[in-house]
Symmetry: C2
Subunit: 353 residues, 2 copies
């Protein structure tokens, strides 16, 4: 399903209307005109509310540690939808931290709907016209200054299509996606274990198969193929999740989103003031270069956003403030830099006894 759908999307969605700045945050980015699906009890409405609260909570937690505040940009699109981008740049603790929420309305080509729908559901696909879709998500990347303090990324999103009007009985479709992952430049095992443990606890509240499955999915997804290494030390990742109960998955996404602060902030507090040398800084900058490689070459959210005319500054907020590429850099075997690289090449089970 997803790979095919995502590719069809990117090819066919085409340019979304240009966004424009808004002076004030609206209560909701949902269209007024929507009937039943956007009622305040709809999954759309509750998901939007959840991610907007999470954006506030994460920003408050980060500002409390950093001392600097986030800049906020609010934007909307003429046909409905919009978002709030918050960035803290060159703070005391973070080099760059961005937390975005966005709500997007678009039209999906019929092939993408067909790729998404469950097998055996009514189709008669040749008669389908393009199908309106809705997507809402929170996404965030935070790059600290101190090379011993890790970068974190998280993203939780909800998609929904309308029921096609031209085919009797063809269903509305929906799915959830997301994940939280950690990208340190140096391995502190206790930090990585803490981070993974919080992810596991969030998962275990819903399904014991979630953590092992989404941990592996994360290792597979954040793979820089041309390097044969992962971007970082993983966490959880899932996409196209719709085989469980919708209410359960909304609650699960909420739990994961709310786990970001306890998973990440204590690690930064422990590492942010550790003394470091030029060597540590330079290695951090090289790993930031790898982060850029992954995001620009492989990350679906980024490449999809760039191709479909999303808000560029919000999409590329994930890039670090600074990065570095040295020709043929090879860490000395056994060094601290080598240990990180080894863990990126050979993903570990951090929670094994």
């Amino acid at each position: 399903g997803w790979k095919c759908r995502r590719q069809i999307f990117a090819r066919a969605v085409g340019a979304i209307e240009k966004e424009s700045a808004m002076a004030e945050k609206p209560g909701t980015f949902l269209r007024d005109s929507e009937g039943e699906p956007s009622g305040t009890n709809s999954v759309r409405a509750r998901f939007e509310k959840m991610i907007r609260k999470a954006q506030d909570d994460v920003c408050v937690a980060v500002e409390a540690v950093d001392g600097h505040g986030f800049r906020e940009d609010v934007w909307s699109r003429p046909g409905g939808g919009g978002g709030i981008s918050r960035v803290l740049q060159d703070g005391n603790v973070w080099e760059k931290a961005g937390v975005n929420v966005s709500v997007v309305y678009g039209n999906m080509p019929p092939e993408a709907y067909r790729a998404a729908k469950p097998v055996n559901s009514p189709d008669n696909g040749s008669r389908l016209g393009s199908i309106p879709f809705f997507a809402a998500g929170i996404s965030s990347v935070m790059h600290p200054k101190n090379p011993f303090a890790p970068t974190v990324h998280f993203n939780y999103r909800y998609f929904e299509t309308d029921a096609p009007k031209d085919v009797e009985g063809a269903p509305r479709q929906w799915w959830f996606g997301g994940g939280t992952d950690l990208t340190p430049s140096y391995v502190f095992e206790e930090d990585v274990k803490h981070f993974h443990m919080v992810q596991k606890q969030a998962c275990d509240k819903f399904d014991p198969s979630f953590y092992p499955r989404f941990k592996n999915w994360c290792d597979d997804y954040f793979f820089i193929k041309h390097r044969g290494e992962r971007r970082g030390l993983g966490g959880i990742f899932f996409d196209d999740l719709n085989e469980n109960d919708q209410e359960m998955l909304l609650a699960f996404s909420t739990e994961c989103t709310n786990s970001v602060i306890p998973a990440y902030i204590p690690i930064v507090e422990k590492r942010k003031d550790m003394p470091f040398t030029e060597r540590h800084k330079s290695w951090q900058q090289l790993r930031r270069g790898r982060y850029v490689e992954f995001n620009l070459v492989y990350d679906r959210g980024t490449t999809f956003g760039l191709k479909t005319g999303g808000r560029i500054e919000s999409i590329l907020m994930s890039l670090p403030l600074t990065a570095r590429w040295e020709y043929d850099h090879q860490p000395v075997e056994g060094s601290e830099e080598w240990k990180l690289l080894d863990a990126c090449i050979n993903p570990k089970e951090w929670l094994q006894p």
Copy 2:
């Protein structure tokens, strides 16, 4: 032709065998076993000789200005082909300068051969098996330290397929590609005019239509679509050139390659010691970020190389040593930074009276 062919290539060429380091440079990277096409008078052989001499010449010229020397890596592949990568990193004048030559043997899927061949030539394509191809090229990017000294990129390449053995009369095919372009952080009109004038002079020796055609092609190619701006101030670019006489195009590629030194080195000599401030450096770093965006998201050589298992360190040598991404940076209208950006958004005819 080319777009289709390149895409089919990237999908189907698949992983090329892994390269290994060589202690010494061979006299040629061409296969011994080859008969007629690799005779010392073949276009393949003369093209390889030309790019290897050009690599030497450019490195000598750069070392004379910089004072530091290039590091050299020689590599080969078990099935034939290989290359020489030269890098000067953290020199006196250049932050990073790389000059590569490579010779690649591979197998092209029949669709790519069909997309490449002239209309109306014998085909009977359904019987074609995969077709051996040969590619040789020189490619180089040089990023100076001083923000007033521009980055240059050049790349000249020659492709050839074997005549398919299984279809009587199906022709061998060949084509040339390449270009030279300038990426300053600040506009010095005299520098840009000089650079374009040298390109025009090289072109005019062969065909008066070449410069205007290849200048526009360059502006179109180095376009960062998601930004709506070009990477730099252009030069010349061409691909899939085979409608002219083969000897003429070999001579033209040679002339272009040999024009790199007179087009670029005098500009660097004029700018390398100009005093600059933090503001200039920071703007240079932002433009380097754009360079990374273009190369990782759009550049065909880079994305093709990453997907087909080319030598990663040689491919990514084009990335700057350091780069920077600031959220929503907007130069003040009328400032020197704005003038550069304006010229990247609205390409100019530098040689108009």
